[in-house]
C-alpha cells in the first residue's frame, strides 16, 4: 500500500510540473517570446523525472547491437520531444504518451545505422562464436561445454546463446530450393546448387598425407577449385567469378578433379 501511495504522489508531482511547464510553453508560443530560465528548469526537471522510463526502454533494445549509452541518448531526445508536445488535456498518462515517441527515436537510430543488415550478421557472428568457443572449451574441459559455460566464456546471456544457435536457422530467409536468377547462365539453378557444403565424395580425403600426394595429379586450376570449394566452402558461382569462367565450367572441372582424386586414393 505504501508503494501505491508513493506512486500517487509521484503522479501528482509530475502533473503539477507539467501544468507549470505547459502554461509557460503556451505563453511563449503565443507571444513569440524566447524561453526563460524557469522554463528551461522545468523542462529539465521533467526530463530528469522520466529518465528511468528512457532507460527502461533503451535496455530492451540493447541486444540489437548498439551501445546502451547511445540508446539512452537518442531515447532522451525522444523524451524531450514528448515533453514539448504533451498536453494534459489528452487525458493520458505522460508515460503512455511518451513511450512511442522514445521507442520511435530509438528505432530510427537503428535504421540510420543500417540495422536491418546488422542483426542477421550479428546473429551469424554469435552463431560462429558459439561454434568456435564450443570447440575451444571442449578441448580445455575434456567434454562438451554447457550453455552456462559458453555464455560465461562469450559474456553473453544463456538465452542469447540458445537463440543464436537456433535463429541461425529461423532467420534463414530463403528456401534452399528457391531459384536464384543466374546472371548470364541460361539454366536456372537453385540456391542449394550454389551453397558451399562438404561433398560426400570428400570423405575419402580425410587423410592429409594421402591428400597431398593425390593433389599432385591435379592441374593448377583444379587445385584452386578444390581448395576453394572444400577448404574455404566457397560456392561454385563465386569460384566462377574469381576465375572468370562460367559456373558450369567450374562444375565440370570440379567433377573431373574429384574423379582424379578418387582414382589416386583408390590405388
Amino acid at each position: 500500500m505504501q508503494e501505491r501511495e508513493q506512486a500517487r504522489r509521484d503522479r501528482e508531482r509530475t502533473r503539477a510540473l507539467f501544468e507549470r511547464f505547459i502554461e509557460r510553453r503556451e505563453r511563449y508560443s503565443q507571444h513569440n517570446q524566447t524561453a526563460d530560465s524557469q522554463y528551461e528548469r522545468l523542462r529539465d526537471e521533467l526530463a530528469v523525472v522520466h529518465l528511468n522510463l528512457v532507460r527502461f526502454l533503451a535496455v530492451r533494445f540493447a541486444n540489437r547491437g548498439e551501445p546502451l549509452d547511445d540508446l539512452v541518448q537518442v531515447g532522451t531526445v525522444g523524451l524531450l520531444k514528448a515533453i514539448d508536445r504533451f498536453d494534459l488535456q489528452r487525458g493520458v498518462e505522460f508515460t503512455t504518451y511518451a513511450t512511442p515517441t522514445i521507442v520511435g527515436e530509438i528505432k530510427r537510430y537503428f535504421r540510420d545505422k543500417g540495422w536491418a543488415v546488422k542483426v542477421p550478421r550479428r546473429l551469424q557472428e554469435l552463431n560462429l562464436a558459439v561454434n568456435r568457443a564450443s570447440d575451444k572449451l571442449s578441448i580445455s574441459l575434456g567434454r562438451s561445454p554447457t550453455v552456462t559455460e559458453l555464455a560465461e566464456h562469450l559474456r553473453a546471456g544463456e538465452d542469447e546463446i540458445l537463440e543464436a544457435q537456433e535463429l541461425g536457422q529461423a532467420y534463414n530467409l530463403l528456401s534452399l530450393d528457391s531459384e536464384i536468377s543466374g546472371e548470364t547462365d541460361k539454366k536456372s539453378q537453385t540456391l542449394a546448387d550454389t551453397v558451399g557444403i562438404a561433398d560426400a565424395g570428400l570423405e575419402l580425403l580425410e587423410d592429409r598425407a594421402n591428400l597431398e600426394r593425390a593433389f599432385r595429379v591435379l592441374t593448377g586450376r583444379e587445385r584452386v577449385i578444390i581448395y576453394l570449394r572444400f577448404y574455404e566452402s566457397v560456392s561454385q558461382t563465386e569460384i566462377a567469378k574469381r576465375l572468370n569462367v562460367s559456373q558450369m565450367h567450374v562444375s565440370r572441372l570440379q567433377a573431373k578433379a574429384l574423379d582424379k582424386l578418387r582414382a589416386v586414393l583408390a590405388e
Binding site: 509521484d10 530492451r60 540495422w115
Partner: protein
C-alpha cells in the same frame, strides 16, 4: 524472391511454459518462428520477440501468478496473433495499474505501454483468473525502412 511462404494451413504453435524468467527465451523463439513464417521483416520479428518477452515478464511479475504461461502464436493470412495467458494458478490476483513509479514492481505495467508501441493491437485483461493478453501484428508488405 521474398514472397510469402506457401502455407496451405494456418500455423499455430501453442506451448505451455513454466512461469519463470528462464523460459522466456523459448516464448521469444516460438513467436519469432511463427512471425518468420509470415515473412515479417527482421525488425518486425525483433519487435515481436520483445513484445512477447514483455508480456511474459508482466505475467511472471504479477503477484500470485500461476505455475504456467500458455502461449499461443498463430499465423493467420496476413496477421500474427499472440496470446499470453497466465495459467495453472492459485491465489487471487491483484489488479495492477501502470503508473509513474519505475521501481521493479511496476515494470510490468510499463511493459504494456511498450507492447502497444510494438504491436498493432493489444488487449489485455487482468482478473482473478490472471493476466490474459492478446496482441496482433499485421503484415504490411512494406519493408522500405
Amino acid at each position: 524472391m521474398n514472397s510469402a511462404v506457401e502455407r496451405s494451413h494456418n500455423e499455430l504453435v501453442e506451448p505451455r511454459i513454466p512461469s519463470r524468467p528462464e523460459w522466456v527465451a523459448l516464448a521469444r523463439l516460438a513467436a519469432a518462428t511463427v512471425a518468420n513464417r509470415l515473412r515479417f521483416s527482421i525488425e518486425e520479428i525483433e519487435d515481436v520477440k520483445l513484445a512477447v518477452a514483455e508480456a511474459c515478464t508482466a505475467v511472471i511479475q504479477h503477484e500470485g501468478h500461476g505455475e504456467f504461461i500458455d502461449l499461443t502464436c498463430e499465423a493467420l493470412s496476413d496477421l500474427l496473433r499472440i496470446r499470453v495467458r497466465d495459467s495453472g494458478r492459485h491465489g487471487v490476483a491483484r489488479a495492477q495499474a501502470p503508473n509513474m513509479n519505475f521501481d521493479e514492481a511496476r515494470i510490468a505495467g510499463l511493459g504494456v505501454f511498450l507492447i502497444r508501441t510494438l504491436m498493432d493491437e493489444v488487449s489485455y485483461d487482468v482478473s482473478p483468473q490472471g493476466t490474459d493478453l492478446v496482441m496482433l501484428k499485421r503484415l504490411t508488405g512494406v519493408t522500405d525502412h
